[in-house]
């Protein structure tokens, strides 16, 4: 069945040359403009240049928090944006990571660098156990179930004061490396930046791989994905666990950075904030997740001058963006740029 390409078709178009050019080999300019290479380079340049613009501790504080949120949102975007599953409970996993670091270091004397992976492992196992029953749900039902997960984690952290310090929160020691305490904005800037770059790299790798295509396929046409051999349940569980682990790692970093954890890290509002960052920046866009995290972490700080109007203005900006850019900031803007380039 070597050559059965319909005769007559090529008289109308030249599919061969067209596809060869676009399909297999890209020009250097295309590579540079691609999300993988171009986006990654941009991120590295921004990370390298940003410290030159930061003048005080407060600014470092905000930027480090952007990075921590971005790590969570990059993971959550894999779940929501690419695989099409919702979670309203990811702040719970974030908080569990933070408290795992807090408890393991203060109460059990573990090193922070050991507490972080242990916490991530525990959260991963918990997420796996939770995911199997609840990911059989979809839509509103999945939203409710994940909301419940977040609430339960929040309540447990608030109530079990003997372990967690209860509503007052608990102190977390700084990580010590070779007698040097990891303390302050400039140090944490580079730690968080390194983890963020790793998260972005893993995310970009995943979505452009057989496993990532399976995730996107179960979002786009679940039955067709099944028929193609994709075990949709397995992939949903997998991406849920992966995003929970990323939230846990970010939580551990946040705990050691701020040296204090409180139960409101697991609050419903915090979960919603993460989801909003995904949607605002742009679903199914890794760099959209970064932009969403950056804008929505930064905006409340910038609007602080407006005092009591702060939340109103924030809400208004979000409404306007979502009405005019329903796909989110980055996909809308990059689509616009692509169309402009195509026209010229």
């Amino acid at each position: 069945m070597a050559d059965i390409r319909p005769s007559g078709y090529s008289k109308h178009r030249k599919p061969q040359t067209y596809s060869r050019r676009l399909g297999t080999r890209a020009t250097p300019a295309q590579v540079l403009l691609s999300e993988r290479v171009g986006g990654m380079l941009t991120l590295l340049v921004v990370i390298a240049v940003l410290p030159l613009l930061l003048t005080n501790n407060y600014q470092y504080d905000v930027v480090v928090n952007i990075g921590i949120n971005a790590i969570v949102v990059v993971g959550l975007n894999l779940l929501i944006g690419y695989a099409g599953q919702i979670s309203l409970g990811h702040a719970g996993f974030f908080a569990l990571g933070a408290y795992a670091s807090a408890i393991l270091t203060t109460r059990y004397g573990l090193h922070g660098a050991l507490a972080l992976p242990l916490g991530a492992l525990g959260v991963g196992l918990l997420a796996y156990v939770i995911a199997r029953p609840i990911l059989r749900l979809s839509g509103h039902y999945l939203a409710m179930a994940t909301l419940g997960v977040g609430l339960i984690i929040n309540i447990v952290i608030s109530r079990e004061a003997w372990l967690t310090g209860g509503p007052d929160g608990m102190y977390v020691p700084a990580i010590e490396v070779w007698g040097f305490e990891l303390y302050g904005g400039p140090v944490w800037y580079w730690i968080v930046a390194a983890v963020l770059v790793l998260a972005v790299w893993l995310s970009l790798n995943l979505i452009d791989s057989p496993a990532g295509r399976a995730l996107r396929a179960l979002h786009g046409a679940s039955v067709a994905a099944e028929v193609a051999g994709v075990d949709t349940t397995r992939y949903k569980v997998m991406v849920f666990v992966l995003s929970a682990v990323m939230a846990s790692v970010a939580g551990s970093l946040a705990a050691h950075f701020s040296e204090f954890v409180t139960p409101d890290k697991a609050s419903f509002f915090h979960s919603i904030l993460f989801v909003t960052m995904v949607v605002f920046g742009g679903m199914a866009s890794t760099f959209g997740a970064l932009v969403g995290a950056a804008v929505l972490t930064l905006l409340p700080q910038l609007l602080a001058d407006f005092a009591s109007y702060e939340h109103m203005i924030l809400g208004l900006i979000m409404m306007v963006v979502m009405i005019f850019m329903p796909k989110g900031l980055v996909p809308t803007l990059s689509g616009l740029a692509r169309r402009r380039r195509a026209r010229s």
Partner: protein
């Protein structure tokens, strides 16, 4: 030995018996068509065979193994693939990526390897991309390689379904109205693809309303009416069957 055997198969939706007490076998390497008026249960039968629905009663055997109630992804592992009449295209992906999803089971999909983008992954993807582009050109989609699936016209999406199903290299391929909504020239092209696929040894099960296509390429035809078997046999036998003429072909 039969490739697919269906015994006493029935499914009920509420009070509606969409398929009733159906028995038939499909021999390997043949083109087997299922015809019948609208609502006869053809697509329901496809959904039963491919594991999308679970039968109320009855059994299905693939390669003499009982597969009743198995999920579609397990059946895909056994060499089954299909297309959908009401398109099931991943609109969030490009045309080429849709076809590459069809190769899922042939690719290394280890999560850690994918996350780290190990050389084996990129190498596998590069080969898969090449094969999928060839497949798309075979079904006449050479002009749509990097198109967003959401931006493609209906006729192209029908072929995309076929390319994705072929990418899996199935031994049993079920095509649900592949020519519906296509013009005469496009139908002829699809016809050629199906013949070539069958000639390569793939067993094809075809649901189709285009009688010229069905009569031309089928080895065996099963006629359904109200979920029951009305007739079965070679195209010649079916064409001359009075019950079929009365119920379906009518005044042809």
């Amino acid at each position: 030995m039969s490739l697919l055997r269906v015994e006493n198969l029935s499914i009920q939706f509420g009070g509606v018996r969409a398929i009733q007490d159906l028995d038939f076998t499909i021999d390997p390497g043949t083109v087997h068509s299922i015809i019948g008026p609208n609502g006869a249960g053809k697509t329901t039968l496809f959904n039963l065979i491919t594991g999308v629905y679970r039968p109320t009663t009855g059994a299905i055997y693939l390669d003499d193994q009982p597969v009743t109630g198995r999920r579609p992804n397990e059946l895909a592992r056994m060499g089954m693939s299909r297309t959908f009449q009401n398109l099931q295209i991943m609109m969030n992906m490009t045309a080429l990526e849709n076809v590459m999803v069809g190769r899922h089971l042939h690719l290394n999909r280890n999560l850690l390897a994918c996350l780290l983008r190990l050389p084996a992954i990129t190498r596998g993807d590069r080969t898969a991309r090449k094969r999928c582009i060839e497949l798309m050109e075979r079904v006449g989609l050479g002009g749509y390689i990097n198109a967003e699936a959401g931006a493609m016209p209906y006729g192209a999406l029908k072929r995309l379904e076929i390319a994705r199903a072929l990418a899996a290299e199935p031994t049993l391929l079920l095509l649900d109205e592949p020519a519906a909504g296509l013009n005469a020239r496009e139908t002829k092209e699809i016809d050629e693809v199906i013949v070539a696929v069958a000639r390569a040894g793939v067993t094809v099960v075809l649901v189709e309303h285009d009688m010229k296509l069905v009569m031309g390429i089928s080895d065996h035809i099963l006629v359904l009416d109200y979920g029951r078997k009305l007739a079965e046999g070679t195209p010649e036998e079916v064409r001359n069957n009075p019950a079929v003429i009365a119920a379906y072909l009518g005044n042809v």
